[in-house]
Amino acid sequence: MSLPFLKRDLPVVIVCVTGVVMIIGYFIQAPEIYLGDILGNLSLIASVIAGYATILGILTLAIVHVKHLSKRTQGQWMYSVLLLALVLAMIGVGLIGTLGTHPYFMWFYQYPLVALDTTIYSVLAFYIASAAFRAFKIKSVEGLILAVAAVFVMLMNAPVGAALWGGFPLIGRWIMDVPNGAAFRGFIIGSAIGAIAMSLRVLIGRERGILGRT
């Protein structure tokens, strides 16, 4: 088999065949079309590939940071040392006994990781307060609508809203259900149509970005 066929055409054939089989299995429920085992095995294959992708991700991350370390990149290499040490530590304690169940692993997860991760997430509250002060300027009718809607939704969400005035939760709920619901419904339908179009292009081999440079 020629190299272009292996690199360019064979992946398209594999994607097309597996894609069509999965679509038939999902949408057509008929006893004449029995795809149970094939679908199950394809799902398992995809899960195994995803597992290897995780390993590949860790290796790529390690390569990037080992390079920083070997070059002593200014302002970076010490963070690379920290990152590599912590990745190795987590992998090490995760491999003790049954994967990810040892008390050392749970300690690493529950105390340093949870504390660090939640701190990063909670910093968002400060950025939001600062951004709201600067961004919610009423410069136009649209700006006015945005600011008023934001205030009502915030007062709907916080118990203080109902304590101040019973109308805040009602109006806030209406904003969430009706204008917000309508906007997100349109967004969901639009993105679903886009995903279908993109998937069809991949299945018929018109979209080759997934193959990388061929």
């Binding site: 990810g100 997860y109 997430y121 002060f133 915030m154 118990p159 304590a163 619901g181």
Partner: protein, 280 residues
């Protein structure tokens, strides 16, 4: 005058951070105890679990990681309390790598509740390991649980676990619960559990993500929903077990009020600057 306006308009963000932290810490140290009315989505979330026949099998998808623990964690805790209280059997599963560790934290936290209820690991509930593959794993789990997760989190073969004895696929579950901080999450469960198997689904979502799920809730694809920490607090109150979410409600109010005050303040400064006579 214009110098003052300019200073106020460009107030250092550290001032905003300082005011916010003072407001939040003040109410955490001196709780006000504002009432938390229960909203319809939370009531429906509760009823979806409480109305199940005793001993029903429920899938609990822990689709979040350490970062979302302060908001999603109380949802999981209250949900597990409710499942135990209403005498249901449940399977804890996760498409997120940190999900099983999160589940362990809450299983340890609720140990006395579990022990006093007479529930036993393996017979009434089980924790599955991380299911790698995102939506594909969700589909595989729904199609053939025992081939997707061959062992539980602790390495016991699923064929030896009594609660999973008669379980083959999604049809053997009465309800799916997805407590999520993003993707994979609600939409994967909708596509792989709700549409093909008509599985009733209820969800717990972060406050910032809940608006995106409103169309699914309004259409009835999601039967009930916990919206952010507020939703978790409401569920804690319904089941009579106020915990970390309820105690955070005053802080939530303080944080929101500070943000609103800064929005109003910013607009006053903006309007004063806009309409002040030129040259002053």
């Amino acid at each position: 005058m214009s110098g003052l306006i300019s200073k106020l308009e460009n107030v250092d963000r550290r001032v905003i951070y300082f005011v916010l932290i003072i407001a939040v810490v003040a109410v955490l140290l001196n709780p006000i105890g504002l009432p938390v009315p229960v909203t319809t989505p939370t009531r429906r979330y509760h009823d979806a679990i409480a109305s199940l026949p005793r001993g029903s099998l429920v899938l609990v998808g822990i689709e979040f990681d350490a970062g979302a623990l302060p908001e999603n964690g109380p949802m999981l805790e209250a949900t597990m309390r409710l499942l135990i209280k209403s005498n249901q059997r449940f399977v804890l599963a996760s498409l997120w790598s940190g999900g099983p560790a999160v589940a362990r934290i809450y299983l340890d936290k609720l140990k006395t509740v579990i022990d006093s209820s007479g529930k036993r690991y393996g017979e009434d509930f089980v924790l599955l390991p991380y299911l790698v593959g995102g939506e594909t794993a969700a589909a595989a789990l729904a199609k053939d649980l025992k081939n997707t997760a061959k062992n539980d989190y602790f390495g016991t073969p699923v064929t030896d676990i009594p609660v999973l004895k008669n379980v083959k696929d999604a049809k053997d579950f009465s309800l799916a619960i997805c407590i999520t901080a993003g993707t994979p999450g609600v939409e994967e469960y909708l596509r792989q559990w709700v549409s093909p198997y008509n599985m009733p689904l209820i969800a717990g979502a972060l406050g910032v993500a809940a608006p995106t799920y409103i169309p699914y809730y309004n259409s009835g694809q999601i039967k009930g929903m916990l919206q952010g920490l507020r939703g978790a607090a409401e569920l804690e109150l319904i089941i009579g077990a106020p915990s970390s979410a309820v105690s955070s409600m005053d802080a939530l109010s303080a944080g929101h009020l500070v943000t609103i005050v800064f929005i109003v303040f910013g607009n006053i400064v903006f309007l004063v600057k806009k309409y002040q006579p030129k040259g002053k």
